[in-house]
């Protein structure tokens, strides 16, 4: 999807990100973590808050690696392949199979949507 480039220079005045925009919502994090715990398991608040930060670190980390590959190949848009490559490079090859399955499913659904849109427009 087309994306507007980020503003150059990165000035403090207009480009600062709000604190809450640097993290994923704690409610989503809490919900997903709970599913991974045993039935009577709990997570302490400190741990939960730290996990919230860890998750943002992960996003930045993989994105940066994917972006490096993209730039090396002189492209401007980070794509799915860059991401998959980054996962392997960074040692998260366990994620590769579920991600590929997810990507295949995503492409199917996108195709179905675009096909439906095409049919409707006829």
């Amino acid at each position: 999807m087309a994306d507007t480039p980020s503003s150059p220079g990165g000035g403090e005045s207009g480009g600062s990100v709000r604190e809450q925009d640097r993290y994923l919502p704690i409610a989503n994090i809490s919900r997903i973590m709970k599913r991974a715990l045993p039935p009577n398991g709990k997570i302490g608040k400190d741990a939960k808050d730290t996990v919230q930060e860890c998750v943002s670190e992960f996003i930045s980390f993989v994105t940066s690696e994917a972006s490096d590959r993209c730039q090396k190949e002189k492209r401007k848009t980070v794509n799915g392949e860059d991401l998959l490559w980054a996962m392997t490079t960074l040692g998260f090859e366990d994620y590769l199979e579920p991600l590929k399955l997810y990507l295949a499913r995503y492409r199917e659904v996108s195709f179905v949507y675009s096909f439906s849109a095409f049919k409707l427009s006829c």
């Binding site: 999807m1 994923l24 860890c54 940066s64 980070v78 799915g80 998260f92």
Partner: protein
């Protein structure tokens, strides 16, 4: 159509994931596939952290996962350790046990005669009261 979408519905708000990615000013454009893959991989990572921390908590016979359990879980997985360990808050400091040592004796009040001065033969001056 709705059921197909269900299988790929992200667990996190995509717009927020994108904002986090764009905190890095070097990131220019990201296509939709990449955005969805980042979101899904983040979910996988979160589940991983939760599961492994939970295992550590169980080893220590605790029901509530705390920071130390999280730290141990991070340390045990090399790729995660490499990028995340330094970002974790420092381990909680051990409570400082303040014990009075002999050398911390307060000086005696002015004018006090030390009894050992009295007993040492001619070596110490005995202060006049």
């Amino acid at each position: 159509m709705a059921e197909e979408e269900e299988t790929i519905r992200p667990e996190f708000p995509i717009t927020r994931v994108k904002k986090i990615m764009k905190v890095d000013k070097d990131i220019n454009k990201i296509n939709s596939e990449a955005l969805h893959l980042v979101t899904y991989s983040t979910e996988l990572f979160l589940r991983f952290l939760a599961e492994k921390s939970s295992v550590v908590a169980a080893e220590k016979k605790r029901k509530t996962v705390n920071l130390d359990h999280l730290r141990t879980a991070v340390k045990r997985h090399q790729p995660t350790r490499e990028f995340l360990l330094d970002s974790l808050p420092l381990p909680s400091a051990q409570p400082v046990r303040v014990t009075k040592t002999v050398s911390d004796k307060k000086p005696p009040p002015v004018g006090t005669r030390r009894i050992d001065a009295f007993f040492s033969k001619g070596k110490a001056k005995v202060d006049s009261p």
